[in-house]
């Protein structure tokens, strides 16, 4: 019996004090805080272990739970768990800025949580890809294939011609190699494509109806 790699997980985001030492040479970006307490400069590092995301920085420890739409393939998970994510550059900075306001946010509705979680999931997946492009860690080639393939799946989630063949072609590998890599992550290409699409479809539907709330707010602001 093995865990379904595309199984959803409820994610806990914990805001913790900084770890004993900041990664050597890490530059804390001064930036332009848009709102008090929301600047990325307060975040020093980000660690992701399973469904536990820890944001280390200079703020009081607290913890929030996100919806269940967070899942990664085993390959992406391994690459992400290799080391803390830098928050001064790249997608780590984006991820930190998205996570930070969550800490003192009001309790979101379940649908909102799911949407936030799906966005966070996409960014974590991209962080895995960024880590591979950096080339700072030795990552098994099968994991590299899955991580890259998942980026293609996500960027072409609306493309009806998306297939194992087209993904393999884009990666310059054989379909057999692609499928073997996914098998190594105990999932399949088809299953992962379906999971990404169903997540996107479920969350992208916008109900039709009145704009009462919007008009209300406009009156208040204007």
């Amino acid at each position: 019996m093995s865990a379904d790699p595309t199984a959803g997980r409820r994610v806990t985001v914990t805001f913790a004090p900084p770890p004993c030492a900041v990664t050597p040479g890490q530059r804390i970006e001064a930036g332009q805080p848009m709102e008090a307490g929301q600047s990325v400069e307060a975040v020093q590092s980000l660690t992701i272990t399973g469904a536990q995301i820890t944001v280390h920085g200079a703020f009081p420890a607290r913890s929030i739970e996100l919806g269940h739409v967070v899942w990664l393939t085993a390959a992406e998970q391994s690459v992400i768990e290799l080391d803390a994510i830098r928050t001064d550059v790249g997608i780590g900075a984006v991820l930190a800025s998205v996570l930070l306001p969550l800490g003192d946010a009001p309790v979101y509705s379940t649908t909102e949580q799911d949407r936030v979680a799906a966005i966070v999931r996409g960014l974590i997946s991209a962080a895995a890809a960024e880590r591979i492009e950096d080339g700072l860690f030795a990552v098994p080639s099968r994991q590299m294939v899955v991580v890259r393939a998942m980026q293609i799946v996500q960027s072409r989630r609306d493309d009806p011609r998306l297939s194992s063949q087209s993904i393999a072609r884009q990666l310059g590998i054989s379909v057999r190699t692609l499928q073997a890599a996914f098998r190594d992550s105990s999932t399949t290409v088809v299953r992962s494509v379906r999971a990404i699409r169903s997540e996107h479809e479920a969350l992208s539907r916008v109900p039709t109806g009145s704009l009462s709330w919007a008009d209300d707010q406009l009156r208040r602001v204007g």
């Binding site: 865990a3 379904d4 199984a7 997980r9 409820r10 806990t12 970006e29 332009q32 848009m34 709102e35 929301q38 990325v40 660690t47 272990t49 469904a51 536990q52 080391d83 803390a84 550059v89 790249g90 997608i91 900075a93 984006v94 800025s97 998205v98 930070l100 306001p101 946010a105 009001p106 649908t111 909102e112 949580q113 949407r115 936030v116 966005i119 996409g122 997946s125 890809a129 960024e130 492009e133 980026q151 996500q154 960027s155 999971a195 169903s198 969350l203 992208s204 539907r205 916008v206 109900p207 109806g209 704009l211 009462s212 709330w213 919007a214 707010q217 406009l218 208040r220 602001v221 204007g222």
Partner: protein, 266 residues
């Protein structure tokens, strides 16, 4: 996405552009400094630094920039976000605007895209574009202020069951039968609700328990048998077997690895 500063007039195009002819689009501006006034229809709204302006570009609009300013603009096809109608948004740093997930997300994403754009790879940029579109959808949905009607009864039942499992994961008597009985449906109906889901109810119960166990193993010094009890396993041997099935190693080994790597990093 574009970055515009009034003096000197520099427009930097960052993410891939929507053709200007795409009338069915929504624009979002995050004011970095200065202020701007949006006129659309018979409405006039003023936006200050840190505020977010959201408007439909298919309706005629005009911007007035009374002072030196700098702003970040993103344009997304309405087909991707849903219709928002006329100008509706501003979010205030003064806190008058209610905090919402969509506002927080869009604002954070735009601000960091702006600050860290140069350090992003091509793939990260496209991931970021998707995140912005998704966050805008969230914003638009909030504007409609309605619970989505798309949820089928199956989806609703699956969601209620998930939430039930979350609340009762540590209960050793938790089973599909218990969930069905407490949600007043037959076991058969309950299982059919999970046909379209990524995992079965049994898998959800198991993964919820294992997830919780992982958290306890890292954050506490409870013994493995206490952790087993805590996450709803009466029998520690079953717990170890299930845990090993999911994680590939026993809870004790897993804990050693994860606590070691954490202190190794510090």
């Amino acid at each position: 996405m574009s970055r515009i500063a009034s003096v000197p007039q520099v427009v930097t195009s960052l993410l891939s552009e929507v053709p200007p002819t795409a009338a069915e689009s929504t624009q979002i501006q995050l004011v970095r400094s200065g202020s701007l006034i949006l006129q659309q229809g018979d409405r006039q709204t003023r936006f200050g630094a840190g505020e977010l302006a959201v408007y439909d570009v298919s309706e005629p609009f005009e911007f007035v920039y009374p002072t030196e300013f700098s702003t970040i603009i993103v344009q997304v096809p309405t087909a991707d976000t849903g219709r928002i109608g006329s100008a509706f948004g501003a979010s205030s740093t003064a806190g008058a605007w209610p905090r919402s997930a969509g506002h927080d997300m869009v604002r954070s994403l735009l601000a960091t895209t702006d600050a860290h754009f140069d350090s992003l790879t091509a793939n990260s940029r496209s991931a970021l574009s998707r995140a912005i579109v998704d966050a805008m959808q969230l914003l638009v949905r909030e504007a409609h202020h309605e619970e989505p009607e798309y949820a089928s009864s199956r989806t609703v039942l699956a969601r209620r069951a998930r939430s039930y499992v979350q609340r009762h994961a540590s209960d050793i008597t938790l089973s599909s039968g218990r969930v069905a009985a407490d949600l007043h449906v037959s076991v058969r109906t309950l299982h059919s609700a999970f046909e379209d889901e990524r995992e079965t109810l049994a898998q959800i119960i198991r993964s919820t328990r294992i997830e919780r166990a992982r958290s306890l193993l890292v954050t506490t010094t409870l013994s493995v048998s206490l952790v087993a009890r805590e996450v709803g396993y009466a029998d520690v041997t079953t717990f170890i077997r299930v845990f090993k099935g999911c994680e590939g190693v026993t809870p004790a080994v897993w804990r050693r690895r994860h606590t070691l790597s954490a202190s190794g990093r510090a």
